[in-house]
């Protein structure tokens, strides 16, 4: 997994609440059996004017010029600023795959759906929770200033705005460690093989029908 520690990235504001995973990556793209290549179809229904299907040449499709991700001033954004309950809906990991493939590294929102939040960390994306009033202030700042960037420091758990304002954020110690070091969860868990086997033996003795 990609390591992450520091980012000085352009911010794009997506000003709606409850952005669901169907919106992040519409279901027709879930037919892929691959993990990569979802970026051009991130937010497909909002980004393009036509109906997208897998296998289309996305560079030839008509863009919805009003959609925020298509505005020239946000081109190359690596930080997605969002509203409440971002990533609600299905468990599809294609959503973080699409965001990552699009070029995002950090998401900032007041809240996230649980499964999506989890899935982000497994794919080198850092979802940051900030209080709603702070997110609101960031929305205003991004909209008011062309080329608005934020510095995100995972080690220090801090976001620094161009005017020097610092926003501290919380992150689970285990997930932070995995992101900083690009660690693979499975490898870590397999260090506990002995404990898993011991648990399994005890569990099997207590509830043999689970192993029938």
């Amino acid at each position: 997994m990609r390591k992450f520690s520091l980012l000085d990235g352009l911010v794009v504001p997506l000003d709606r609440a409850n952005v669901d995973t169907d919106a992040i990556i519409p279901k027709q793209f879930l037919k892929s059996i691959k993990r990569s290549g979802f970026g051009p179809n991130a937010f497909d229904e909002w980004r393009y004017l036509d109906h997208g299907e897998p296998g289309m040449d996305n560079s030839k499709r008509p863009l919805n010029k009003d959609f925020v991700l298509n505005l020239p001033r946000y081109k190359g954004a690596q930080i997605l600023l969002a509203r409440e309950n971002f990533g609600c809906g299905s468990s599809r990991e294609h959503a973080p795959w699409a965001l990552e493939d699009f070029g995002f590294i950090v998401i900032i929102a007041p809240s996230y759906a649980d499964i999506f939040f989890n899935n982000c960390f497994k794919n080198g994306l850092l979802p940051i929770r900030l209080a709603a009033d702070k997110v609101d202030a960031l929305f205003k700042a991004v909209e008011a200033n062309n080329g608005y960037k934020l510095k995100v420091d995972l080690e220090k758990q801090a976001i620094t705005a161009p005017d020097g304002t610092e926003y501290k954020f919380e992150v689970d110690a285990f997930r932070k460690d995995c992101l900083l070091n690009g660690l693979d969860d499975i490898g870590l868990t397999l260090q506990h093989v002995g404990e898993i086997k011991a648990f399994e033996a005890k569990h099997r003795a207590a509830q043999p029908w689970l192993f029938a």
Binding site: S91, S111, N118, N119, F174, T189
Partner: protein, 467 residues
């Protein structure tokens, strides 16, 4: 701690090891697998040259991409077909039990798990699908996971997790005529919002819940995720045990008695502490209809489409305005004046035999309204379909003008050919009314099977509690 919640009991009995910060390894008893979220997990396993830890804990089925008509002809869309074939090939390679597309036992993953007895009380159940919360109806700890986690469970039989907070949703009293588990679910979401359960595991309790059948409890737990909760659950009782008994994967002989003794302990102890409690009076719940693009945008059928001017804040007002524009609705329109174009009865929320019976009971001797272009009933599994046909439900529905399809997810998410055209309005028994969920530009209203069938007959929403 002497008194425990059901969630505490399920959690504690599966902790393999726990770090000081609460990050734990949880042992997983059952992993259900479908074609959409598993190919990358199998591929990951292969690339790392790992083997599944315990193949017998897995049960696989294709459901999202399968056609609901003329199945003998196979899957027309080559990309969908490849996904299903990839599942078949992976199951053969790793020796995973799979109910293939033409197996009578095939169906929606959350319908077949319980139907086969592959979901049992006291289990931890995962699947790369958010509606895995369904299985919590059996006093199981069940939730959806992402594909990386699917691979993780395959390789280690464990999930890295932190314990959630516990929420009690208590529904006391008797449901009125025509009011169902679906209406309880929508009423709960209307009350706490789609993020109200985020960070919680919800236990549904109270006399109205105990009075529900297992199928009703599954409908309710299925929708826990729409309230933001990864897991929903109901205590085990005689209803649970009677449902499980005799199913193919259920314990037998001496194991059965031992299991039942254990299952009877799967309830929250008196006085157990919850981090949050929500109470509803069953008698006050009316048939529900969603009007917008989030399940929390819901009102009783005798209500009206709300006016964004009355929204509590600016973000919400914007959401409501956008939802009304997408849905093609005007504020203050009575729900019963909303005309529909299509009807979809099915999904892992309402695709079980009782749902088929409810739809047939409403449709019996009537005709689908002329303005309804398509009314389809899609059983949740091949066995549900077979049972319905033995009861003659298919004939009743077909005579009324409904289409009777083969089992699968179908128009719940429109990954196969069943979908809405832009602007079409659908009364659906599924669980999500997001923009484009049932087809780009499609407009979904979530309702119970009774309400969907009644809307098909009338051509617009009607209050089934008044029929």
């Amino acid at each position: 701690m002497s008194t425990k919640t059901l969630y505490d009991k399920l959690w504690d009995s599966h902790v393999v090891q726990q770090d000081a910060d609460g990050t734990a390894l949880i042992y997983i008893d059952r992993q259900l697998v479908h074609e959409v979220t598993s190919p990358q997990a199998f591929e990951g396993l292969k690339l790392a040259q790992r083997k599944p830890w315990r193949t017998a804990s897995m049960l696989a089925v294709p459901d999202h991409n399968v056609p609901t008509t003329n199945r003998a002809a196979g899957i027309a869309d080559p990309i969908s077909r490849l996904q299903v074939e990839t599942l078949d090939a992976n199951c053969v390679e790793y020796g995973v039990v799979e109910f293939k597309m033409n197996d009578i036992r095939q169906g929606i993953v959350h319908v077949i798990g319980p139907e086969q007895g592959a979901t049992l009380p006291g289990m931890t159940v995962v699947c790369g699908d958010s509606h895995t919360s369904t299985h919590g109806a059996f006093a199981a700890l069940a939730h959806g996971i992402g594909t990386s986690e699917v691979e993780h469970v395959m390789a280690t039989q464990c999930l890295v997790a932190k314990k959630s907070k516990a929420m009690l949703v208590k529904v006391e009293g008797a449901l009125g005529k025509g009011v169902t588990a679906k209406d309880i679910a929508l009423a709960v979401i209307g009350k706490i919002g789609t993020a109200g359960g985020t960070g919680y595991a919800i236990e549904f309790a109270g006399s109205a819940i105990r009075a529900l059948s297992m199928e009703g409890r599954m409908t309710l737990c299925n929708m826990a995720i729409e309230a933001g909760a990864r897991a929903g659950m109901v205590a085990a009782d005689d209803t649970t045990i009677a449902y499980v008994k005799g199913r193919p994967f259920a314990p037998k002989g001496g194991d059965w008695d031992k299991a039942v003794t254990y299952w009877k302990t799967l309830h929250s102890d008196a006085g157990a502490k919850f981090d949050a409690t929500v109470e509803l009076d069953a008698a006050q719940i009316k048939p529900q209809v969603t009007w917008g693009t989030s399940p929390e945008m819901v009102v009783a059928v005798d209500g009206c489409v709300p006016d964004p001017a009355s929204a509590s804040d600016a973000v919400k007002r914007g959401d409501w305005e956008r939802a009304l524009a997408y849905m093609g609705l005007k504020a203050n329109t009575p729900i019963t004046e909303i005309k529909i174009d299509k009807v979809f009865i099915g999904s892992c929320t309402n695709g079980r035999i009782e749902d088929m019976r409810a739809a047939a009971a409403v449709a019996k001797g009537k005709k689908v309204a002329a303005n309804v272009k398509l009314a389809m009933v899609v059983p949740g599994s091949g066995l549900v379909k077979q049972q319905a046909e033995q009861e003659g439900l298919d004939k009743i529905l077909i005579a009324a003008g409904f289409e009777w399809r083969d089992p699968g997810c179908s128009m719940c998410l429109a990954m196969n050919d069943d979908r809405l055209e832009p602007g079409e309005r659908c009364a659906a028994t599924s669980n999500r009314n997001f923009e484009g969920r049932q087809g780009q530009g499609g407009r979904t209203h979530l309702v119970s099977p009774e309400m969907a069938a009644a809307a098909a007959i009338a051509g617009h929403f009607v209050d089934v509690s008044k029929e």
